[in-house]
């Protein structure tokens, strides 16, 4: 691990391609596509969103809609020349655009966007430290309203934790070990797109978020709630056994409390097909997404696990975190491969090889993947709240 060499900062491409999307009346500034961890969005103002690559932190694209707030943001961030180019966008479609932004400003925005992307799937999602760091980054990024909102969120989080008497951290390691030893059913994890935030307890290792057991009469799905979770919200959630290959729901069941923070759903369906998944949904009528999207979402979640583990290693050599990161990048590559995206499978394998000498990497499938793979890996401190996460045993 190269962490001993110190932090490697966020960089951004100075040349982006400017396109005008006529279908939506939107200007797009685009760099290289995002890598195996997906991207994190940051809204600067009405009509402007920045997207950062979650793995290396770079600015990957910007969506700009017509309107004064968006143009003011472009001018503030990239300067008056870039703003003028955006205003001329319909006539300069496809042109390269050189953007110049303060590196520290972009770095703060990148870290804030990536913090937003990981805070809700963290095992310590209810820590007030997320809001503390978000407020700090928002101030550095010049987002005063966002900073004030985070300060209010911080106060609310502390009040919530005081009410729920959960100032101490959940014993993530113990929970993970227990789950890992008892699951014998189809795959399943807590997809944050499908559940209300702040309700179910996420784990470091996505496979450990649900205990899924195949019994004689059906499938038992056990999850853990975060302390103080809204029970009415939980009552709306269901476990579903789905077959993404043909987008069908095989069975559903509501959760019942097991008396503590554990909840269980019993899906009365037997002998699931090998292609089935278990998922937890807030909206039981929600259509089942494709097998490809299931794999993509989980691949990005594996990448988050790997990146979080790598951040823990920064400045502190810990072989177990490195092993965890290497395993997670391996699982990430498998899921991208299953999704049919060989570029991102390759990039995940490259990441694994960087921390796991001797690990095989496939041939680079495309020029852009080769270019992304050739860039410096982002090495940064863990998010404040992440310092409290214990490593799964």
């Amino acid at each position: 691990m190269s962490a001993a060499g110190g932090a490697v900062p966020v960089t951004y491409d100075r040349t982006l391609t400017l396109t005008y999307d006529e279908d939506v009346g939107q200007v797009v500034l685009e760099g290289l596509p995002c890598g195996p961890a997906g991207e994190a969005a940051l809204s600067l103002a009405d009509g402007i969103e920045l997207f950062f690559d979650c793995a290396d932190g770079r600015l990957s694209k910007v969506f700009i809609e017509a309107g004064e707030p968006a143009l003011a943001a472009v001018a503030g961030l990239f300067g008056a020349r870039a703003c003028a180019a955006v205003q001329r966008a319909p006539s300069s479609n496809g042109d390269p655009l050189t953007v110049v932004a303060e590196p520290q400003l972009v770095a703060a925005m990148s870290r804030l966007a990536r913090l937003d992307a990981v805070r809700f799937t963290s095992p310590v999602a209810d820590s007030p430290l997320w809001a503390v760091e978000a407020a700090h980054l928002a101030r550095q990024a010049g987002l005063a309203t966002r900073a004030d909102a985070e300060a209010r969120r911080d106060a609310a989080a502390i009040a919530h934790r005081r009410r729920s008497r959960s100032l101490a951290m959940p014993d993530v390691a113990a929970a993970d070990a227990r789950h890992a030893s008892t699951s014998n059913g189809p795959p399943g994890w807590l997809d944050p797109h499908l559940i209300p935030p702040g309700t179910f307890q996420h784990a470091v290792w996505p496979d450990d978020e649900l205990t899924i057991r195949t019994e004689k009469d059906g499938i038992l799905v056990e999850a853990r709630l975060v302390p103080g979770a809204d029970r009415q919200m939980v009552a709306r959630c269901h476990a579903r056994l789905v077959d993404p290959g043909n987008r069908t729901v095989i069975g559903t069941a509501p959760f019942v409390s097991l008396g503590d923070l554990r909840v269980q759903a019993e899906i009365r369906e037997r002998t699931p097909l090998s292609s089935t998944w278990v998922e937890v949904v807030e909206d039981v009528a929600r259509p089942v997404s494709s097998s490809q999207l299931h794999h993509i979402r989980r691949a990005m979640r594996w990448a988050q696990t790997a990146l979080s583990a790598v951040r823990q290693v920064c400045g502190l050599a810990d072989a177990e975190w490195v092993r965890l990161a290497a395993d997670a990048w391996g699982r990430c590559a498998d899921d991208w491969s299953a999704a049919g995206d060989q570029d991102r499978a390759y990039l995940a394998a490259v990441r694994r090889a960087a921390i796991c000498p001797g690990a095989a990497t496939p041939e680079e499938p495309s020029a852009w993947a080769k270019e992304v793979a050739g860039r410096s890996l982002l090495i940064e401190e863990p998010f404040l709240a992440e310092r409290l996460v214990t490593r799964p045993s």
Partner: protein, 212 residues
Amino acid sequence: MGLLDDLAKLVQDPAIRRLAERRARCHELAEDALQETFRAVAQTRNPEAIEDLRAFFCKSLIHAINRQLTLSAPIPAGDIAAIADSRQGHSSSGTSPPASVADEAHRRLLAEAALTRLERDRAKLMAMVPARSGDPRRYRRIILAAAGTILRLLFEGQVTMADWNAVLRSEYPQLWDEPGLAHDALYQRVSRARADIQLLLQVVLPRDLIAS
């Protein structure tokens, strides 16, 4: 015809399906985006406010496709006015300066880590508390609980000697209420209990955080 019927027609419209496949560059992901857009538009709170349903659906569809590799919806920022100031090195907000935020974060970080240790090493810490009463096990449990409460107060701000006494009184009312106990003896008892709590806190916290 209702909104759902109109949306079902749009989802089956060949031009819209071509748009989805061209954008997603994949049949399955295009189908996912069409499903998601149908669901999102059907749940719109004021559908009557949509002037051109087809245009709205297409825009939502492209939005969904553009975000298939995005981990979460962005949190609205609300303003951008201060970015230009930041470019010029000015402070961006009228609220507390970054240094105090960092200090605050550091203090909380330590307090949370200490709470974790207090719970994780419970047995070891209890064994460190002297057996000062007729029921040593109960006394140790009370001291440990009081240490946890003091830590929570530290988490929220400065803790004074009066806070320590208030916590002890609440966790261990018998300490004060024993009939006939002389003032000096009470003072000594409370001091020892505070010292026992302090001992635990010194194990789990850096010394400079223990205000008294």
